[in-house]
């Protein structure tokens, strides 16, 4: 198993290759990408910022916990930081498991833990030139007509 915070584009094929083993009947790759609209606003890119040392440490703890919980060490996770364009991968999770149900549960568990725990922040950049730090805990504004 391996996890890292990276500043370069994520190599998805390499990540998959890291977890592939003949003992596994299911290999799964989750890729989180930069979306062009958030809360009704047109997004042109996202700047990801991290508390690097802690993000690395916390991601390592999550992967170790996942290995314990799901009984496999075939887990490779990378989270990218820096300025990302639309469609670029910000996070990728490769997992492999003897059975598909285990692979899906494991992958889902890792992304949910990661979103709640690793100290990473994103500043969205909008078509009108403004930018804002996202706060997932803030109350959502009512939907605009």
């Amino acid at each position: 198993m391996r996890s890292a915070i990276v500043t370069r584009p994520i190599d998805l094929q390499a990540l998959l290759a890291e977890v592939a083993r003949h003992a596994n009947g299911a290999t799964l790759l989750f890729v989180g990408t930069v979306r062009d609209v958030n809360d009704g606003r047109a997004v042109t890119g996202i700047e990801y910022s991290a508390y690097g040392a802690m993000a690395e440490a916390e991601l390592g703890r999550i992967v170790a916990e996942a290995a314990e919980r799901f009984g496999t060490t075939d887990i490779a996770v990378e989270h990218r930081v820096g300025r990302l364009a639309l469609g670029e991968a910000s996070v990728a999770i490769a997992v492999a498991h003897p059975r598909r149900a285990g692979a899906y549960e494991l992958s889902r568990w890792v992304i949910e833990e990661l979103k709640h725990r690793i100290p990473v922040w994103k500043r969205e950049e909008y078509v009108d030139g403004t930018r804002e730090w996202l706060d997932p805990t803030a109350a959502k504004e009512p939907a605009r007509p």
Binding site: A55, A57, V91, R117, I118, P119, D135
Partner: protein
């Protein structure tokens, strides 16, 4: 004792810096350090009980600080 406080993202913007040294009495807690940060220009925009980490691991507000600790004040995380 001296501890290093780290600020990130919106908190760094609010206080206009990412790192500072805090001089605190022995036995000071995270809460004491946060009070000190709130007294700085822009400090009132810190929430009452932000997430914090000591030396790269999440910590509670009543955790005691030690000399040389790295105390990070962590805005709501938004990875993924």
């Amino acid at each position: 004792m001296t501890v290093t406080a780290l600020l990130f993202a919106s908190y760094a913007d609010a206080l206009g810096r990412e790192q500072l040294s805090l001089d605190l009495p022995a036995g000071a807690t995270v809460r004491d350090a946060l009070e000190r940060l709130r007294e700085l220009p822009g400090g009132t925009s810190l929430p009452p009980a932000p997430l914090v980490a000591i030396n790269l691991a999440y910590a509670r507000p009543d955790a005691m600080l030690s000399p040389g600790d790295e105390l990070a004040v962590i805005p709501p995380v938004a990875g993924g």
